[in-house]
């Protein structure tokens, strides 16, 4: 790229930046600025090819742009929406973070109490009973992880995430009841029977959610 071309490029960039100065950031604004810049640059280069110098070519291109205030207003509205969205996102992100921490702590609390009661010599039913904290923790972690927006994925809809959390909770609960029943009755077949009920419900719900999901991947 020659020195002259980069002068036009600089002027065009400054002109467009100035035009949209103070407008809130949005993807649309970014795209529009890039679109306007390349088109204006090509136009200035055409003027130059017809014998104008850089300064004249840029000025002519700027004049023929016309009144862009309508577009600027459009972008300003979009920028405001984005700002609002950003606040929502950080709010959801904070709830999600709190959820993950609370969930992990609950699970750990459950694990430690089970271990503690086991070594205290409490009976097997009592010991596994505190495992209910692991069930609750697991459900909360599932919900919180899914409602988190990451660099590559958008956050899941909160209702949908709640159903996922419910499915995880039911599955964990089915294992929990199976273990409890096994120790309470001493019979494996009753344990499997009680496992089956909740496990099937949980799997059914989970399959439904997995098969009806939308793509949350971010494009580009």
């Amino acid at each position: 790229m020659s020195k002259n071309e980069s002068l036009i490029e600089k002027k065009v960039k400054a002109y467009i930046d100035n035009l949209f100065s103070g407008v809130g950031e949005s993807q649309q604004l970014f795209d529009l600025k890039e679109e306007l810049a390349i088109n204006m640059k090509e136009k200035a280069q055409d003027y130059k090819a017809r014998g104008m110098n850089d300064e004249q070519a840029f000025k002519e291109a700027a004049i023929s742009m016309g009144d862009l205030s309508g577009l600027v207003d459009d972008m300003r509205r979009l920028g405001q929406d984005t700002a609002r969205l950003a606040i929502n996102t950080t709010m959801t992100a904070r709830i999600s973070t709190a959820g993950i921490i609370a969930g992990v702590l609950l699970v750990l609390f459950g694990v430690f109490t089970v271990a503690m009661l086991y070594y205290m010599g409490v009976d097997a039913v009592g010991t596994t009973g505190t495992g209910i904290f692991i069930v609750a923790g697991g459900a909360i972690i599932t919900y919180s992880v899914l409602t988190r927006e990451t660099r590559r994925k958008y956050a899941m809809n909160r209702i949908r995430a709640a159903f996922y959390g419910l499915a995880a909770g039911i599955l964990l609960f089915s294992i929990f009841t199976a273990v409890i029943t096994r120790f309470a009755t001493g019979e494996m077949f009753i344990a499997i029977g009680s496992l089956m009920v909740f496990f099937l419900v949980g799997i059914g719900l989970l399959l439904f959610l997995l098969l009806t999901g939308t793509d949350r991947r971010k494009k580009g």
Partner: protein, 117 residues
Amino acid sequence: MGTTISNDLIRGHTDTVILNILSQGDNYGYGIYKRIIELSDGQYELKEATLYTAFRRLEKEGSIVSYWGDESQGGRRKYYRITDSGSKIYVQNKKDWDFAKGILDKLIKGGLEDVKE
């Protein structure tokens, strides 16, 4: 370049003009701008402001879609393509134009003696 009235008259058909150009192949902003000058034999120049507002409107209503070209030299061009529904709207607009053109001719130039009994 024409008077204010003729400019306004033409500007009212910006969307159809763009759809016409895009129905002959994908194009980008400055390309469409140049094509409009060409098609009018240099008698009409559409301001960029009008053009980009029209792109946004047409894209929103689903008549055109956009994609980035892969030019590497000094920035990418944003290309536009007409959609099926855009093509349908274009055909309809063309019909509407033919109809309106006939009526306007009669209304603006005609006298009662031209009306056949």
